[in-house]
């Protein structure tokens, strides 16, 4: 049954996932062109000075697209489910409600992680072509918190969508916005490097919170 839920979600999300991947691919190409433009406009050593010493970030669009990807996939997955309370049918399957919900968000999270991993890998490879390894690592440490923001945006959007009451929907929205914002603070490139593990733990810990509105929805506790 659990495998069937995963399969159902996979089929449901497939087209949206490809659309999100296409959007991210466009951003990857854009970032690559931005980076190449830097080297076309100036001597390589001047570009290095700008990126290494002044902290110029040519890959900033990743910050937005990662968050958008998380929100988009959460909406693609749960917005139709919440229409006419369709999700309640799923929640009545002969399986513990938490397994049903966790199955859903597992598929969603894997979908988001795969796309964000493509972004990070693409940045790693393109930066490695033109910058020393220290800068490659730094750029990865700069985008990893954005990737966490993408995951947090997915969990937060799910939390908001599943919540049946407006009062808690607003509360969930504020908390999700706040958690996601923690990963998007203005910072020097690589500044998050030392706290990535506790922040990742926070995202992991935040994930099961989506069970709460699901329970309330399932048992009409609102």
């Amino acid at each position: 049954m659990f495998a069937s839920i995963l399969h159902k979600e996979f089929i449901k999300l497939r087209a949206f996932w490809l659309a999100a991947l296409a959007l991210n691919a466009c951003i990857i190409v854009y970032v690559l062109l931005e980076m190449l433009k830097l080297f076309r406009m100036d001597h390589a050593e001047v570009v290095w000075y700008r990126v290494i010493h002044l902290g110029q970030i040519y890959y900033e669009p990743f910050m937005y697209v990662m968050v958008i990807t998380g929100i988009f996939l959460a909406f693609a997955q749960f917005f139709p489910e919440m229409k006419n309370h369709r999700f309640r049918i799923s929640l009545h399957l002969p399986l513990a409600p938490h397994n049903i919900v966790l199955g859903h968000i597992l598929v969603g999270l894997v979908a988001v992680v795969l796309i964000l991993a493509v972004d990070v890998m693409a940045l790693y490879i393109m930066t490695g072509l033109y910058f020393p390894s220290e800068i490659v690592h730094r750029s990865v440490f700069t985008v990893l918190p954005w990737a966490l923001a993408g995951l947090s945006a997915y969990i937060g959007s799910t939390l908001v969508l599943l919540e049946p009451t407006w009062r808690l929907r607003i509360f969930n929205f504020v908390v999700s916005l706040g958690v996601t914002g923690l990963f998007l603070l203005p910072a020097d490139p690589g500044a998050y490097a030392h706290i990535l593990i506790p922040l990742f733990a926070l995202v992991l810990f935040f994930a099961p919170s989506v069970l709460l509105p699901a329970y309330r929805f399932r048992y009409r506790k609102f």
């Binding site: 010493h53 020393p132 490097a193 329970y215």
Partner: protein, 424 residues
């Protein structure tokens, strides 16, 4: 599972409140720390400073809604802005020129604009600039010191210091074997022991000339490396390796008195002089490099060092040989809490900080509000017990909620109240 789900939302909610509530408070009621700017007036021979008052002194809307700055000296005498600037003629020399007060005469000497300009230097050193606390570039340029043009230009390569002194060419993003070998040989010949421990230079061409970089080797010896006409010039400095140089800040200045600052393992700050790299220790009592911002202001007559943490600013004025002449200590207005801050600190037990102004990297820090934290916790617990009694709550969630409120005060109370426990 329901219990876990609930805390999976409550704890992030507390984290969000502990991070954003103080941030919003700061936006609404001003920054926590207001640093005093302290100087030594060569005219008065006293310390004078510029403070931003936390509590306005006079009634009236303008005073409440606008920052109030005061200029005063160590005897408590107040000055207008113009009087203040006239007491610091070497700093405000451009204004002095406009006011027709140049050349000026002090201590029997005459100073015109060019003399003042040529004898001024300011160098700052902040905790986040210490090598082991900084977000470093990691690959540095070794700028050509004799550029053969009016201004400095960046070389086509940068170096990294580790097991070797490795140059990477920016055009090809590849190791430059030739340059690497030439510079490594020169370093080894000078007695450099790899792996290198520290590399410090001013990685910009926006400076009057270039003094290369200082490197510290595995044994703690300090080397001065320059690129002169494309070739290495390596000098092993006589700086004692036992001093355990921890950080160096290079600051090229036409005065050519010192290369920059060196922080040694015993937390003392020195100038690296042009006189065969002799270290000049700065007489800074109670200086803590990990928490204090340091500034050295040099004018044609005096050198003034100021260093401050969040509460106290200290200043010492020295002669040209860096012997202390006078010192002063001042508690900054920002050190005392405003009414709004006292209330806020009593309602919230702590603030969560990600950014630490004393280091380059983010860190997770819980900044407790001292004894006022207990007020928030006491209020939180009292309301929690009252609500639990009225609702006749019981069960494991009640105990865990109580522990959360006891640890996080009103933050916890708000979170557990909005999300009351539900039966599965």
């Amino acid at each position: 599972m329901m219990l876990l789900a609930r805390y999976a939302l409550i704890i992030p909610a507390i984290i969000v409140m502990a991070f954003y509530a103080p941030m919003l408070f700061d936006v609404a009621f001003g920054e926590r720390v207001q640093k005093t700017h302290i100087f030594y007036s060569p005219v008065l021979k006293k310390f004078i400073w510029l403070d931003k008052l936390i509590s306005p002194e006079e009634e009236g809307l303008e005073d409440v809604h606008h920052a109030q700055f005061v200029q005063m000296d160590q005897d408590g005498k107040r000055y207008t802005r113009q009087e203040f600037e006239k007491l610091l003629p070497f700093i405000y020399y451009r204004n002095m020129e406009i006011w027709g007060l140049l050349p000026l005469e002090l201590e029997g000497k005459t100073f015109d604009k060019n003399t003042i300009k040529a004898n001024r230097q300011v160098i700052e050193f902040k905790p986040r600039q210490i090598d082991d606390r900084a977000l470093k570039d990691e690959v540095y340029p070794l700028i050509e010191s004799v550029p053969g043009s009016a201004r400095l230009i960046f070389p086509e390569d940068r170096f990294r210091l580790g097991r070797e002194f490795e140059f990477i060419n920016a055009d090809y993003n590849r190791r430059d074997e030739k340059v690497t070998q030439v510079f490594n040989d020169a370093l080894k010949e000078a007695g450099f022991q790899f792996p290198g421990r520290l590399a410090a230079g001013k990685s910009t061409i926006l400076k009057p000339f270039d003094e290369g970089v200082f490197l510290v080797d595995a044994d703690g010896n300090v080397f001065h490396v320059k690129r002169v006409n494309g070739k290495p010039r390596v000098i092993k400095t006589p700086i004692d390796p036992a001093l355990n140089v921890r950080s160096i800040k290079v600051n090229e200045n036409r005065r050519k008195e010192f290369y920059g600052l060196a922080l040694t393992g015993d937390k003392r700050l020195h100038l690296i002089s042009y006189d065969n790299y002799r270290l000049i220790p700065l007489p800074l009592e109670s200086y803590d490099p990990e928490t204090m911002d340091f500034k050295l202001i040099i004018n044609p007559l005096y050198r003034t060092a100021t260093y401050s943490d969040d509460e106290t600013i200290r200043a010492v004025v020295m002669d040209s040989q860096y012997r202390p002449l006078d010192k002063y200590q001042h508690t900054m207005p920002g050190a005392s809490l405003t009414m709004a801050q006292s209330i806020f600190n009593s309602l919230t037990p702590f603030r969560l900080n990600l950014e630490d102004p004393t280091q380059g990297y983010f860190s997770l820090e819980i900044d407790w509000h001292g004894w006022r934290s207990w007020i928030s916790i006491a209020i939180g617990l009292a309301i929690f017990v009252f609500l639990a009694y009225r609702r006749r709550s019981k069960g494991p969630a009640l105990v865990m909620d109580g522990i959360l409120v006891a640890l996080t005060g009103l933050y916890g109370l708000v979170a557990v109240s909005i999300l009351p426990p539900q039966k599965e």
